[in-house]
Assembly symmetry: C2
Homo-oligomer: 572 residues x 2
């Protein structure tokens, strides 16, 4: 790997048109990079390619965090006194190292595509060769290093297929037409690039964390299971951890040894099952983010700010919004990692408890009988609570509610008041159960939705105190303000006028169709005397559909009644 980095790093830097002097000159990369062509986070870029590079970057970060040699150019850096500085430097080194893989696609020139082909093939071959040559490593688990490199290799394979395809396209003269872009903007499958990036890295994060959780625990349990002897079983029986009928004699522990091995096996199964469940849940939530985001964007484009935010927002860039936009993908990735960890802890405990009921029947029956007999209140108590709740529901339906055909009305008030008073102590006990349920459901809900940034874990009024939701809200502001379909359609029309070589008839129809999605119907203002009333009606109608406009109405418009008709008024 050291040779690979020594060869590739100068190439990486030379692609960025920067003189290569020393390793420390890497720091110079950062101010010089803006000179190179890099509109890679614009919508018209090659989405899959950019997502693949971000995936490689995140996987490298995962390798870096656990690695003892963060910078491959310097061996045994962790043993030196400056080890921790190398690790921090590596955080900036890897983005610069993989940057050319992305930059080559944005230049839109045959030579750059060729360069991209060579680079991606080179990276890919080196990585695959390295892992085939030496698949085992002493770290955590012998195949961990190989398994954790799989996302990097897959992303590199994607790149080494993508670049040749781009090169062939550029030779055959197939250009990305404006039509395609219009379709991208208005198609059903349209999702902003930044979100695709964040979901890709979050999915890779789920893989990496799940892999780490798996290889850190399962081999250890298997080793313990294989190495379990009768002597240890005797100890466990003496401590009362394993039920035993016979006296604790080492020679006579066959059955108990089998029981212990069975326990360990079921622990292993529980761990894997809960991990699979967590991964599935996290991935489902991430996909749900995509759906939510699409509907949020649609609502904001139509001006329905209150459908998305609890309070009216003005959708324009700000310092905070830019910072949040920059860190959105990173936060999504980090939250996916943490969410998976929290879920695994909760679900593993739950699954062990649940499996305990089925697997370790003897042990649990003993415990269960003890619990039922001592701490839990007796069964008539539960029965009373259930009966009280049913009685209240029946009484409410048949006694306290008068069912008119049009509307229901309260009746028998005295009986209602007396029932309320008499059932007060029982309802307090029901309330304690409801409180426990409240605690459980809020904990479970928050742990499952932890990876979703588009949901606040706090209450409506204070939801922006949640750092995840705060980031998402500001990210949305930038996305909406910078990529409104009407604005894009307008820009495309301008581009079309500047480049009249294509088949303009087809394009124009598509663009028109796109614009019609956002267009509003202008009512004919036939008679002058209806003018003011109509203007007021339009204004009210507009404000009904765009409540966010009320905030900036007085400042933006001098005479609201006269200018009311000029506001955009989307049809329902």
């Amino acid at each position: 790997p050291r040779l690979y980095h020594i060869c590739m790093a100068p190439i990486s830097v030379s692609t960025c048109h920067i003189p290569w002097d020393d390793l420390f000159a890497l720091m110079l990369l950062i101010p010089s990079l803006p000179c190179s062509p890099a509109n890679f986070l614009e919508e018209e870029g090659n989405r899959g390619l950019v997502a693949a590079v971000f995936g490689i970057l995140f996987s490298s970060l995962c390798v870096l965090v656990l690695d003892t040699d963060p910078l491959p150019l310097i061996t045994h850096s962790s043993q030196s006194t400056r080890g921790k500085y190398w690790k921090i430097l590596a955080l900036l080194y890897y983005p610069a190292f993989y940057y050319p893989l992305m930059a080559c696609a944005t230049v839109r020139h045959k030579a750059s595509y060729l360069m991209g082909c060579l680079l991606s093939w080179c990276h890919c071959v080196v990585h695959i060769w390295q892992k085939v040559d030496c698949p085992q490593s002493p770290k955590i688990y012998r195949y961990y290093s190989t398994l954790s490199y799989i996302p990097i290799i897959l992303c590199l394979v994607l790149l080494s297929l993508w670049y040749p395809a781009l090169l062939i396209k550029s030779f055959t003269g197939q250009k990305e037409t404006l039509d395609k872009e219009v379709t991208q903007i208005y198609g059903v499958t349209w999702i902003p690039l930044k979100l695709i990036l964040s979901i890709t890295t979050a999915m890779i994060a789920v893989y990496q964390v799940a892999l780490l959780l798996l290889v850190a625990v399962i081999p250890t349990i298997q080793i313990i299971r294989a190495g379990m002897t009768k002597d240890i079983v005797v100890l466990l029986v003496q401590f009362g951890l394993v039920p035993s009928e016979s006296p604790a004699v080492p020679g006579d522990m066959e059955k108990e040894l089998r029981t212990v091995k069975y326990y360990l096996w079921s622990l292993e199964v529980c761990y894997i099952c809960s991990l699979v469940l967590c991964c599935l849940l996290t991935c489902t939530m991430l996909l749900r983010t995509l759906v939510m985001h699409r509907s949020n964007l649609k609502a904001l484009y139509q001006g329905a700010v209150l459908d998305v935010f609890y309070k009216a927002h003005i959708l324009r860039p700000s310092r905070q919004a830019i910072v949040c936009w920059m860190s959105f993908a990173s936060f999504q990735t980090a939250f996916a990692c943490l969410g998976l960890l929290i879920q695994q802890v909760i679900f593993f405990i739950c699954s062990v408890g649940f499996a305990g009921g089925f697997c370790c029947l003897e042990w649990c029956l003993m415990l269960g009988a003890f619990l039922l007999a001592s701490s839990l209140p007796p069964r008539p108590f539960w029965l009373t609570l259930v009966v009280a709740v049913i009685v209240q529901n029946l009484a409410a339906h048949y006694q306290f509610l008068e069912q008119h055909p049009l509307r229901k009305e309260l009746t028998n008030r005295r009986a209602l008041y007396i029932a309320t008073y008499l059932l007060f102590p029982i309802n307090v006990l029901v309330g304690v159960l409801a409180g426990l349920w409240r605690m459980l459901i809020s904990g479970l809900y928050n742990s499952i939705h932890f990876c979703q940034l588009d949901i606040s874990l706090l209450n409506r009024g204070v939801e922006t105190f949640d750092p995840g939701y705060h980031t998402y809200c500001h990210y949305l502001k930038i996305e909406v303000s910078q990529s409104h379909p009407v604005m894009k359609a307008f820009c495309l029309l301008l581009l079309q006028l500047a480049r009249p070589e294509g088949p303009s008839g087809l394009r124009a129809s598509n663009v028109e169709e796109g614009i019609q999605l956002m267009q509003h119907k202008q009512a004919p203002l036939s008679r002058a005397r209806f003018k003011q009333s109509r203007a007021r009606w339009w204004l009210a109608y507009t404000l009904l559909h765009n409540p966010s406009l009320t905030a900036c109405r007085k400042t933006a418009l001098c005479d609201p009644t006269a200018n009311g008709t000029q506001l955009s008024t989307p049809e329902p």
Copy 2:
């Protein structure tokens, strides 16, 4: 106490006009009670009196839960085979036992007030005499029983002052005028009775739980502290729990003994401090519930359903709403208990950790040095994260944001994209910290607001899955649909016509003032040709202020354009 119950129970039952045969006939109380006068949960009742009786009831429940003899009429009931059934029966016995204290006030007759005086004095004297005569009991802590009876005695004292006042008022002829009721409805201090009840019982719940938490732990710690000997200190030193410079010789442990006693004392202080903090927080949240509830009611009376609920609701009674209304006060009380418990656990752990930094300096320095040296990442790492965040903020402000006088715009896009890419790995690490903060803040927020039913602990979209918030929403529906000020003012006007003996001029003015709060200004429809445009404008304006009406518009009105003017249209 047995004699007291034997004497008082027949009196209680006789007040309810029911033949008294046997103890088991108590069950007969429930179907017969609706015959007795009992509109005590109506607004015009004596609020303080009703709240006091509910307070007595809840305190009795607290005593009952921990008591071994739940039914005072049957001694040693817990030792009998039917002990658990007695406890369940006691849940119904106590409400019936204290019922006459409330019923006497609702009859509104001199004889009933006199009866109320005698009953409350009797109860009060018996309880005070009982506790003065025998203040100590062997349960939990010797003064626990006495302290837990304080709310009962205070409430009884309130009742024994309230009834004579009512009696004197009835003799001097002072009646509650309609004016007062109108003032009650429209005054600033107006809060529904059910909420006053729930807050009173919740406050008593806070007292009872705090008392229990205090007497169950503090005397034990004090006993341990007093009984700490050098032999135990030697053991603690050998286990490494107490730092010691000298070798573990029992004779030479003066300093270590002092340290251990100091630790125990600081544990005690932490416990009391966190308990005080929890009580203050819970009480603040309960008071905040009152404020929130007032503003919610006001908003709902004005038709602004979406200011209170996330989705449009139709405010009419239903089975669920009645059940929730019945159990609202009980749930509020139970949630206050649970919330205090959860907070105490969290804050005690936090305060011990916090105090550890100050009190047990030696021990913590050792631990802290170990932690800093081994597990925590090195300081340059934190510095990098902080610098990265600051750099992003500065760059966003000075580089990526073009500050026009009217609106801000995004600029230097290339640099922005490159910075986003390069800072991706560092932002992932910042994201991990943000995720930890998200976890912490949501846990803390939910534990502090656990006792508030008017706040959902779940996200906006699924907030009604929270049993507490679900109960509150349905409770609000009943409150609003049954006690709208306009309806009340109308009923009062009808009552005024039926009872013309009072000074009607004063009353009418007050009622008018009350109605004006809700009145709308009718616009003059001067010219017929403007009619339709104006009607549409009114309709749009109305719907803008009452979004909930859109749901039932088509069904309720045949022709929306023609009837638009007849809807209530409050002025902004």
